[in-house]
Subunit: 368 residues, 3 copies
């Protein structure tokens, strides 16, 4: 799916595109430090059966961020990379919460700036990349990459908006990751181990807490206009009536016909609480180039096997008007419908169970 | 009053000068990213009838900050600008609190760095600038610009120190602003709408909360040595015995005689609580060039119509010794007197009602 | 000890090396702004008699940081310098706590980034440097500089790990410092006054609080392969059963034989609580160059005169494999033993009183 990113990300992911595997460039030959970021603000309006809301929001096209990164070539094809990326809210200047140990207790305040998006140091050579720190989990990429809306704004996929994946569904801290190098005939992949950093009593108190420990992997194949990837991961939590180990598996794929890039994903998340809960969903998306602009459209569903089988469906359509490679205006409309007792709503609105909600974004995004 | 800034800010506002309207430069023709900031620390001493205090303080000449900004020319006179500016305390390295929704409940922790001073993304063309995000409110500029001390340190004007203007008296988040372009024969102006992002129930719960919603505007004329501006704004809050809609109107003006830049302002803030409270004040200031240095002097008052008509008066005089355009040492003395039961005091000291207080600053300011 | 830093810091202190006195470079002749930092992550394992722990940690070789600094030459040998340095955790992207008034009450949240490591503005000329803001205390340097492990990771000296020195043992805010200039025939020194910024009642409430006020000084001599320095400082706290004025005195020295740099330190910290407590310790360290790499070894002790005379001893050995001047891999092993009822443990493990603990670090450090 790396190829997909290269083709589709065009203007959307300055900064973010590199966040996947682009640092695995084989022999490293350049050094230097780069400042980068995104400033994205949008007027967002949401309606539901109970209440509506109007906001200025941040990142409805691409999440706002400020980052610092650099690479040093160490000779012999070896290199080292650092990457510090802080999310911020372009509507009010505040920061975005992170998490120090992959559990609800490790959540940090989002009042101010931290490197919540990424804080890594990597060794890179022809054998691949060893990456240490906080980063996306492998299981996140199949949610983000097939989504024409990149999981941002009113159009974000239901699998992202409603996932049961828990604290590590998007990122994990205390992570040791390995990425395959490029040049494997289209194959790419990564494995990750991350730590909740609980203490281990000896002799063991039964059972020893391992909350926040986990692992994830993703493998894929991308060549020419086609790409597919599968990912799986587990994060451990002590079993209670509401939580337990979380097991995720998902698949993403795309085919670029030129006039249309078709993408899709299937998602399954299981929480092994006393009575296990499984969530499943899928996405079908399309990105249609219109000159240098883009029409984006997607349909996605996500629901669980809880009583009543609550489920939400979303249809989203948007237009991205590209002033330049770095700057765009965009508009998105999304309609969300609920069933089985679900009451999800868009853009801060409130809706009754089984009622629908509409969301509208109108924004400006600048990458720097 | 833009012209005033250009003339008077000289060494004081590297970084800050641009915070007003300087991004409205008509057709944009340059790109790039700039890091900028101010490091300003001062020994501050205050005395009052109850207690005195000695501190190292930050920003007694210009508030300490670190910022990132840049502009991209989009062709055809169109441009985009981003601006991220974080306040910090030069005495201890901590951050400065912001506010996410323009209400007391939206205040953030100041422990760490956020873009509390400004976080904006703008579209700029010959018709003016559309600015989204967190920024100064229009009603702030007539307090800051006529004040020879720029609202900083012991010399800050009483209208700034004692304003009833509430959470949006200086800045607002979730703001949509528009600035007139330059080249209008000396006229300049801006309008702003900002959102508290409360939820709107339907059918409406009477009354729907609109706390933190508001609007402001400022219009002025500046040519040659003269400038004048008027501003007005309203921020909505549910009416209680202590708060309610806050309505602000103020005027600022200056005339630069060369050997003296005379400035003045009049301020009126009304809080529409059950028993409304109105605060009024004025400022008369002078900035006297002494070679490359400056003598600053001001007299200001602010008081309310509450029982006893509490009122405070301040006389301040200071000297700014400019090592260079970027670096200065400065000293300020201020004397504050209270009447009507007011008990304001300077630099962290405490004073009894109707007693006076003195403040002294001795500092070093470097802009980078 | 400045010379020592220059010789020994080689790869260890990009960024940090300057944090001592290197800005006192006599007549300043260059201007500009520099971004710098360190990204250091390690797998850390600790064992004790009760429990073990495995973590990804930050800064086991050099503390992770991001900084901004610059110097402006003002002519006539005069210069101004600013320095903003933020610690962060390379394992999770969060910030590191600071302190606004040198007392436990002034501790800030470490969730996000602040300039907790250093926030200063300085005037520098041939007479030395006047430095205002938050910085290391003079009494810290004799702990950090003789330690082959730089007070970081499992190998950090016991005098650092167990010091009674309180909130100002490493840094202080609201500080006015003066550094001697270089070129004094090998002599160097600094004095510091820092403020807790308590209020002073008049007539004085007996006793007036002075918590967090303090002063410190350090003087030394370094020439050729040899250096020695002595430091002393006092921080005031109201006397209780558990705290009171904290008085610190320590000595550090080194001699570089070429094949071995031998270093040592002696430490004494006294807390003047109702029943005073005194802590004492020492360090003997060696740094052995192996080509461009380094073997580090140290033995250190620290204990107090509390009941039972609790005391901890540590032996540490490590290897630093330098990929380049900026990048290294490193491994450290440390063994800690307790007596007199002490129960200190390494790397997050837990151990019973008088039992031992082992710590292991394996990490990657990149300076940028």
């Amino acid at each position: 799916m790396r190829v997909k990113i290269t083709l589709a990300a065009n203007f959307m992911f300055v900064g973010a595109a590199f966040a996947q595997t682009s640092q695995v460039q084989g022999p490293v030959s350049s050094s230097g430090m780069t400042l980068f970021g995104v400033a994205d603000a949008a007027i967002a309006y949401g309606t539901g059966s109970i209440a509506s809301k109007t906001q200025l929001v941040s990142g409805a096209n691409t999440l706002s961020r400020l980052g610092f990164r650099g690479t040093e070539a160490l000779g012999g094809g070896l290199g080292v990379n650092f990457w510090l990326e802080a999310g911020y809210n372009a509507d009010d200047g505040s920061g975005v919460a992170g998490n120090t140990n992959n559990t609800p207790a490790g959540a940090t305040s989002g009042d101010a700036i931290s490197f919540n998006r990424r804080a890594t140091v990597s060794l890179i050579d022809v054998w691949g990349e060893l990456r240490l720190g906080r980063d996306f989990t492998a299981i996140y990429r199949n949610r983000e990459q097939p989504d024409p809306f990149g999981n941002n704004g009113a159009g974000t996929s239901m699998a992202q908006a409603a996932t049961l994946g828990g604290p590590t569904s998007t990122r994990a801290s205390n992570m040791i990751g390995y990425f395959l190098p490029p040049g494997l005939g289209g194959f790419f992949g990564e494995v990750q181990y991350f730590m909740g950093e609980q203490i281990s009593f000896s002799p063991a108190i039964t059972p020893n807490l391992k909350d926040g420990d986990g692992y994830a992997a993703r493998i894929g194949y991308g060549i020419g206009p086609f790409g597919v990837a599968i990912a799986s991961g587990t994060t451990k939590f002590a079993q209670t009536s509401s939580t337990g180990d979380i097991k995720v598996v998902n698949v993403g794929a795309f085919y670029d016909f030129g006039f249309l890039k078709l993408s899709g994903g299937y998602y399954r998340d299981k929480v092994e609480s006393f009575v296990p809960v499984t969530g499943t969903g899928y996405l079908v998306g399309g990105t249609i180039p219109v000159g240098v602009d883009q029409v984006r459209v997607s349909y996605s569903e996500y629901g669980t096997d809880e009583v009543g089988s609550p489920r939400s469906r979303k249809f989203a359509i948007g237009y991205v008007y590209n002033f330049s490679k770095r700057t765009a205006a965009y508009a998105t409309y999304a309609h969300l419908s609920n069933s089985g007792g679900a009451s999800r709503a868009l853009n801060g609105s409130l809706t009754d169970p089984d009622r629908s909600s509409n969301g509208y974004d109108l924004g400006l995004r600048h990458s720097f």
